[in-house]
């Protein structure tokens, strides 16, 4: 129906604007390009939760044939739009996240020691850098007891979701 098409167009236009706004924040030279290292931040700020591996794939897809270190908006926009419309890389439901923490908390204590968490985060999966680890600890750890009450941590950070 014509109306549906109109709505679809409006939605896509809205999505394009969102992507454009996010892109512009990192377009320092105002020439519709961003440093490839900022792509992760842009994609995630638009509500996606890719893994580092998935991110790499995405970048390879939109990079120039000869990598310049920059990503052009013309290549970014269509791929990103598809990502959002297909709702790929959905947000992680809170309970799933909690389960993940519980898997790590083998003794089912209800909390994780900072060293414990550090070990997992910097050795397993797609490891954190030291900076990332420090930042997470400063946000998550109870400063007195040096443990992370992950249940509180999860709810505290997920409440931020728009």
């Amino acid at each position: 129906m014509a109306e549906d098409r109109e709505n679809a167009e409006a939605i896509i236009s809205e999505v394009h604007k969102k992507i454009s706004d996010a892109f512009d924040v990192f377009d320092h030279e105002r020439n519709k390009t961003v440093d490839v290292r900022e792509i992760g931040t842009i994609i995630r700020s638009l509500g996606c939760f890719p893994t580092e591996g998935e991110l790499q794939e995405f970048i390879t897809e939109i990079e120039e044939e000869e990598a310049t270190g920059y990503i052009r908006f013309e290549r970014f926009l269509p791929t990103m739009t598809k990502l959002l419309m297909e709702r790929k890389f959905r947000p992680i439901p809170e309970d799933l996240l909690l389960q993940a923490f519980e898997v790590l908390d083998q003794e089912k204590k209800g909390h994780l020691g900072t060293e414990e968490l550090t070990k997992y985060m910097t050795q397993d999966g797609e490891p954190f850098t030291q900076e990332e680890m420090e930042e997470m600890l400063s946000a998550a750890a109870d400063p007195d007891k040096n443990v992370i009450f992950y249940k509180d941590f999860v709810s505290m950070l997920t409440v931020d979701d728009k």
Binding site: S13, E29, R30, G40, F49, T51, L157
Partner: protein, 723 residues
Amino acid sequence: MRAAILIQRWYRQYVSRMEMRRRHTWNIFQSIEYAGEQDQVKLYNFLGYLMDNFTPSSSERNLISHIFRENEVCRDPEWERYFCYKNIDVPAVYSGPRLIFPITIDQAAGLVEAFKNKQQLHSRYVLQLLLETWKLLRMLPNINRISTCHSKEITICGDLHGQLEDLLLIFYKNGMPSLDTPYVFNGDFVDRGKDSIEILLILFAFMLVYPGDVHLNRGNHEDHIINLRYGFTREVLGKYKLHGKRILKLLQKIFSWLPLATVIDQKVLIVHGGLSDMTDLAVISRVDRHRVSVVSSLKYVSALRPPKKKSGSKSMLFSIDSDVDYDSATKDTIYNKRRASLVHANPFNSRESFQSRSLQDFSSVINRTKSEELEVRRRQMAFAHAGYSQSQQLFSTSVTSEFEPGSTDSLDTTNDEWKQILDLLWSDPMDQDGCIANEVRGCGCYWGPDMTEKFLNKHNLQLIIRSHECKQEGYEFCHNRKVLTLFSASNYYEVGSNRGAYIRLGPDLVPYFIQYQASDMTRELTLRQSVGRTERSALKALREQLFAHKTDLLSAFQEFDKENTGMISLNNWATAVGNVLHLDLPWRTLRSQLVTTTLHDMLDYQDWFQELAIKEPSVQTVLDTLYRHRSTLETIFRIVDTDNSGLISFEDFRQTWKLLSAFLKMEITDEAISDLVVSIDTNKDGSIDIDEFMEAFRLVDRSRLEQGHCLFIRKTEDTEGHS
């Protein structure tokens, strides 16, 4: 393993979101800050408008000269008498530092200690210290040339803006100024922060103790007109109720005598703002720097302009500076240059060209033909004979003496000189090549990497260190690491917004950075908390701006809502807001923070305004246009109040009101003004203080509202003269 990945995925997303929010917040603050500076330029335009459009009647003439009176007449010894501190007694109960001159290092250190303990220096000592400073500064050249010989490392600091904690932190980390620890302070010591005078006193004290090792560069805020608006004047008058005026007058002189730049080892240039395509250090060394201030340039220029004829002079008024490279192909990029792009056409105000006129435009008036010049001379003679007030006469005589036939050069050079100085203090670097007018700030220019290359080669330099712009990490390189911006006021916008930095430079001339953030709180704030805090502050400022533009916004919304349903789509909301506010921000993304109640993606905009009002209870009783002009109004008051007494006469008020209402295109009869004047003086003391002044605008506002009018009625036709 999967669990770990999941957590990492989630956490990384969270960090990205925070980073995005932090950037947005930063952009908001920057946009509003630069927009505020542009307001200041609008004020200058108003004052320029005064000069242009009124063939002065005797009383108006008095007001105008009175506003610009800078007492060039007085000789320095007369001034020294005026500033004499000797008859000021210091009561026995005073527990602050008592200075004995010549000042010693112990006394300077003692001052620092005293200010740390929140003590205030007595005005007698303030004046004495300032007088000594003035004497010293007058002997300094325009460009300080210093050296890192004897393996001394020089410490360089950027903007401090009245933030004493930052200066104390620097001294703590780096040591106080001494023979072994030389310092260069790169301007903007005052305004915005609350301890500007204390910072000045400390810097001056150390400079007096170690005149060869403490160097101060002038910043764009070391200017008494800027101080009127950005808080320094208010701070001094508040702290020194009895002698504040005298102190301010003396500071005015001191500021004008501050050196303009410093060069280290003939290789590194330190200047507050930056360059332009015209910058020439040889010219700058020659200039009479103390004659140049933003207002004096205005005054100088206006004295040369013939009174406007009723016709045909429009083009001259609105011409673009012919000096500046205005490549039309790059115009779009220019418009997008800054986050706060202020050159969008304003659909609601046909005077947009007026408002975007920069002070540089005056130069086009200067470049006139010979015959026009003769005309001007003739007019000035006429003025001189017409019994002009004394200062105005001195004006014209001092100017006509330069008007030798065929000596257009002297005119042009002087114009050239002050423009170069303004460029030094106001310019910002940009990424594109070239040099264009700085329309965001309204003064100075944007200069590109090619200009830097040219300049460095021409003067055989290797690095430019400048300040003037806040940077998140306290410093930032650009132009191939040939230009370094250094900013020393941490938490400038809000706690947690940015770090400050200072540099140590040794004989190798490689800068070493030390960063800091002066607040106990910041260390403990997590990323989330500091972003959240700064963000809330930015959003608050943004909401205030939105509310201040309510009338314009309403019109814009109504454009989209022709059927008057009271609803508007969110897309249209974003478009309208972007157009009205002229702030280049991602409105769609910010929308969720600014608009909370929507129904099917449609917004009831009247409700939304109510919401904004409720969030800002202080604004509820002050209507939007008044609010927007509030700081401008205050600045105007302080300008008219030339003796800083806090009071202006009825006559001055009447004149100011008349001129202001013409400029803003308000309709008010003379009778109405007279009634207003009388009713305004609520305490009936025969003069008007600032509260009564502001109140005047509110009263008029209310009565107009009863008639269903907007406060400032806009006319759409020409801008010549007034009825």
